[in-house]
Amino acid sequence: MEKKSFMKKLTGSREALLAVILVLLFVVITIISPSFLTFKSLTDMLKNNAVTMVMSLGMLCVMLVGGIDISIMSTLALTGMSIGMLLKYDHISSTFLAFVIALAIGIACGFLVGLVISRADVPPIIATMGFMYIYRAMGYLVSHNGEWASAAALGKFKDFATTKFLGMSLVIWVIIFCYAVFFVFMKWTTLGRRIYAVGSNPSAAEVSGINVKNIKLLVYTIMGLLAGLGGALQVSIYASAMPDMQQGGEMDVIAACVIGGVSMSGGRGTVLGALLGSLILATIAKALPLIPFFDQLWLNTIKGVIILVVVVVNIVLQRTADKNALKGREM
């Protein structure tokens, strides 16, 4: 009986289930390749996935209100390319200033997306598809038609990713900082809860006096901000900026959220879920080359299958739960 209630708790809480899966993954991979579970290996993994992890937070907000944003990696390329070129041509040299500019460009990009979606009523998929083209092309124009800003051109900026604080790269501290801020924001502030409210029942939110349009504008602006941050991180971690960076990467961010239990129709999803979702994806990517027979080539297929399985299992579980609930109804 006790076991059953434990199982129930486990399947009842999406996050607990994901955590168990993550731990199982860790155990299996460590058995196959003991070098996986070392501090260096793990921090490397986080560093390589910093961009996806940070941007999952923005996607969480967007998906909570029932939206989607596929323009984010274009925003990332535009911001990354902008600071790359500014550094390359010595317009700026301060790392701090570079970050500020990246964030500002990101916010502007996100704000514009939010305006088009909330004020002109363009469906999110169409609007962000348009901006995906527009921002990518702008990044390309900024790059003087395809120039790269390579490691040598970036100067001190690339040191950001290699600088350590308390034994960990600054990049990892950025991840921790973002998740901590969002954890508090989404759970403990009224604004965070408004985002949930709008996603859960927009018409009720309207009736209770929440400005739904502004909340939508807000989430896309947050998304833009994080895409700008992602741009700066990307340039710093890989020590180069090019206009086609992270093309198609938005799917990874969406995938992380979906695996983390964020619902596409809005209202459901947590910061913890987004964290676990992106960690699971990162772990699989890291572990695949370690496993015999599989190699990096299999990564995408496995990723896709996992997403498909996760959403289908979700539906099957939901259907059984509904059926069981009906059986309990007295007549």
């Binding site: 995938a255 995408n300 990723k303 498909l308």
Partner: protein, 334 residues
């Protein structure tokens, strides 16, 4: 009991000519003319001859727009088509390199495409609660992933026996086969959607799925057919791609789904379902093709053309909404 009050209800439709002029298609036709005048002034090489010569590269994507229009009218979306094109192209190249007759290559491409489409269709009809966006996102990654596995570390394949594909890229006089095929399929798709029972039902599902179901329409059957056909047409698109590039790689068809959606939506087909028609989609597709050819002749980078498409897309969907909003406010003020 007929007509107790003797009321007579009019059933004579209004003149279609008037409706056509003031429709989105009318605007698109004007835009098409404007774009051509612009291109002709912009590039000295831009004329019918050069257009016909350079067009085929861009035409293959129009195939994808046709079934995508059906999916959008259903109020749904399929973002896996680019990956289906990639996988079909890869398989077609492999089959071709085994020395199989060209008809087998064609069948292989279509079959692989159809199978991929059927996978989407199966999942979406069995688990109808799932949003198409998320399912096709997963299959997008899977189909391209399989192509990556098949292609191995090189990541690309070339056809050794180019004879068949060259024939596919042939012309009648100056007009390439593919233009004929695009127009023929376009007309068929337009007629089925606009004039046939099947099309009417697709609109019904896209406007009100529940009411359509209660009215005795096989909603899931129709969805299955359309998603599967989307795959078949992707296979066709793959064949024509190979006929101009004679090979495939892991980025083949990248972003095609977005281009197809953009063509359809710019053509007035609403992504929320139930609105628009293939004619609009075709005109908008040709506007985009002409722009690409015209701007391309003066070495304008494709990215800039994408920027223009992006602006057009957002403007086409957003502006009418803003105008409506302003009109509503003006009415309220009165």
């Amino acid at each position: 009991m007929a007509g107790k009050s003797g009321r007579s209800i009019n059933n004579v439709p209004k003149s279609p000519v008037k409706q056509m002029i003031f429709s989105w298609e009318g605007i698109l036709v004007l835009l098409f003319i404007a774009v051509n005048i612009f291109c002709a002034n912009f590039s000295e090489f831009y004329n019918l001859k050069s257009l016909l010569r350079q067009m085929p590269v861009y035409l293959a994507e129009i195939f994808l727009m046709l079934p995508m229009a059906y999916i959008l009218v259903l109020g749904e979306i399929d973002i896996s088509v680019g990956s289906i094109v990639c996988l079909s192209a890869t398989m077609a190249c492999i089959v071709s390199n085994t020395g199989a007759p060209f008809i087998v290559v064609i069948l292989a491409a279509l079959l692989v495409g159809t199978a991929c489409g059927a996978v989407n269709a199966f999942v979406l009809t069995q688990f109808e609660e799932l949003p198409p966006m998320i399912v096709t996102l997963a299959t997008q990654i899977i189909f391209r992933g399989i192509a990556e596995i098949v292609l191995g570390n090189g990541g690309s394949i070339s056809v050794t026996n180019t004879e068949g594909f060259s024939a596919l890229g042939g012309k009648v006089g100056r007009i390439p086969y593919i233009l004929f095929l695009v127009l023929i399929l376009g007309i068929i798709a337009a007629v089925i959607l606009g004039k046939c029972t099947f099309g009417r039902r697709v609109y019904a599902i896209g406007t009100n799925r529940l009411a359509a179901y209660y009215s005795g329409i096989h909603v899931q059957k129709i969805r299955f057919i359309i998603y599967t056909l989307m795959g078949t047409i992707s296979g066709l698109c793959a064949l024509f791609l190979i006929s101009s590039s004679f090979g495939a790689n892991t980025t083949t068809g990248n972003g095609f789904e977005m281009d197809a959606i953009a063509m359809a939506v710019f053509g007035g087909i609403s992504s929320t379902g139930g609105k628009g028609n293939i004619v609009g989609g075709l005109i908008s597709a040709f506007i985009i093709v002409c722009l690409r050819v015209g701007l391309g002749q003066r070495n304008i980078h494709p990215q800039v053309i994408l920027l223009i498409i992006g602006v057009l897309l957002i403007g086409a969907v957003g502006l009418p909404n803003i105008v409506k909003e302003i009109q509503k406010k003006a009415k309220m003020a009165k």
